[in-house]
Symmetry: C2
Subunit: 335 residues, 2 copies
């Protein structure tokens, strides 16, 4: 920067200004600085800038895993909204564990991010303490604030009601006249559980809930697991006439297995998935599922953060928001 300043015949400070806020310097100086800067191939050091200005232009984004399309879409939305504003996402992988999340968060905080985006609301007390102590905006995603604020700490959330979405599926299956409605779930994180809770309540409301038809395993969801669990579920309860699979990959695996076993869908068995992942509309038959606004959640979370980071107010604590982006039941042909 000193070199550019010398070349342009101005002070370093003026170079800094000319490059960051061209409107604060005279037209003539701006031109000279830009020319010199370009000629010398000057690239301002963001590190130095960060140290001097206390703004790193980075945002910590914590997600459970990179192999779950749901969080990739979230990340894509975040990236899409952040990057035009000059912010860099710093991704942190938590592996679905609140303890690991706390560790990763601490690591990320050492980078002095200007904001934090988290997945879910299932954090350790240590994490809550940390977050409370921060003076940068924090947004929690993929879930909505519960009635009670967390540990007297107002919280900003962007998501949809996992419970309501699960309820919608249960209600839909019941409305279709199914009597023996089962559930298959993997990856039992809090969000999955909420979906299951909603589904369960819907069946209770319809007077058709049978706990025996619930098959819940901790394993990560996958097409393979869906195929396997479908077989197991039908083996135990052959009279099952409808199944809610808590994620589309499970549902796709189940559909494949039905095809293999010669089980007609939806005639003999109705199948519903969750998330409306890529290809769900093209399975045979096309899969009934719930479209979730994952990308939009990322975009909105980033927007809230940017707003909070712009005015250097200590945090949006005073004004916590709860943004419900909803969901859509996609009724296709498997039900």
């Amino acid at each position: 920067m000193a070199d550019v300043a010398a070349a342009a015949g101005v002070s370093a400070m003026t170079v800094s200004r000319a490059l960051r806020r061209p409107d604060t310097v005279s037209e003539e100086v701006r031109a000279r600085v830009e020319e010199a800067s370009r000629r010398l191939g000057f690239v301002p050091s963001r590190v130095a800038s960060a140290l001097a200005s206390a703004r790193t232009m980075t945002v910590a984004v914590l997600i459970p895993s990179l192999t779950n399309a749901v969080f990739i879409d979230l990340l894509a939305g975040v990236q899409e909204a952040l990057s035009p504003q000059g912010y860099q996402p710093l991704i942190g992988i938590t592996g679905y564990g609140p303890e690991a999340e706390e560790r990763v968060l601490r690591t990320q905080l050492a980078h002095d991010p200007d904001g934090v985006i988290l997945s879910g609301l299932d954090h350790t007390p240590g994490t809550w303490d940390l977050l409370r102590s921060l003076t940068i905006p924090v947004v929690h995603t993929m879930d909505l604030t519960a009635e009670v604020e967390h540990g007297d700490c107002p919280v900003q959330t962007v998501g949809f009601s996992q419970y309501d979405a699960g309820y919608a599926v249960g209600a839909h299956l019941a409305a279709r006249g199914r009597r023996r409605i089962g559930l298959i779930a993997g990856q039992l994180d809090p969000r999955t559980r909420q979906r299951c809770d909603g589904w369960r309540q819907a069946l209770r409301d319809a007077g058709r809930h049978d706990p025996a038809l619930e098959l819940m395993v901790p394993d990560a969801t996958s097409v393979a697991l869906g195929a396997e669990l479908l077989e197991r579920a039908l083996a135990t309860h052959p009279d099952t006439d409808a199944l809610f699979l808590c994620n589309d990959d499970l549902a796709q695996g189940a559909l494949f297995q039905c095809a293999r076993l010669g089980i007609p869908v939806p005639e003999r068995l109705a199948v519903a998935g969750f998330n409306d992942l890529a290809g769900a509309a093209w399975t045979v038959p096309p899969l009934t599922t719930v479209a979730t606004p994952r990308r939009a959640i990322g975009v909105e979370a980033a927007r809230l953060l940017i707003a909070g980071m712009a005015d250097r107010t200590p945090k949006d604590r005073e004004n916590p928001r709860r943004v419900d982006l909803g969901f859509r039941l996609m009724v296709r042909e498997t039900t």
Copy 2:
């Protein structure tokens, strides 16, 4: 750090040492510093550290897109290898355009990464110039260095031969006795083209290449596109008895469409995909495809980078490596 130093009764420099290289201070001092550090909740500022040491502990990772599972896997591998060593990946999305890639690279370089990982070898002259001028290690992935070095600039690559992989598929289909073997490709980046080139050569070698059976479109690949293109291909050339779809999502879409149209696979039509994406082993029938070592490529690229970053040698120019991680033809039931 000054506060911790005061609390521990030592100088700031000693705190810095005690925390980074505990073996360089006396046991007693180390204990005092750690205690004080913990008690005060001290988190060293990486920004300041970066400025002072000229090491940001970040690595720029440029990939075309977040919605392509291939690059997510690559990223996951990179992250997995980088993060235990204390490095942070900085992701940059290039959208498959060399020009956009150059822009993104320039942006990332402002963050002073300690290393760079790129996808492919298809860069603009400007990008090559930039890379040549860097004093940090650079690794290119998903492809292998061609015979001729790029613009006299030795290059480090980790990948596999897209050409050979394509050839293997073509040879396999021919060996299965298929006569009218077609090709469906989307996302026509250089890697896809190389796969197609290999496939083409295999068919020529078998004396069965018919350019009319090639259907190449620029659109991003997807299950939906696969279904659509399958129908279009068969409409134009009903006698096609085998198809290579250049990515598994296309192949899955094609399989779905075959099921819908009542086309028996593999009896009437053999289908081969590429990449062995999640679920490929579970389609009906299970999909023949090529397993590519995407995650391993990420891990290996990160390893090479770490090696190059450790010893602060200007760059691994002197010792460019070409790491071929191979591929595996997964013969399943669609062929």
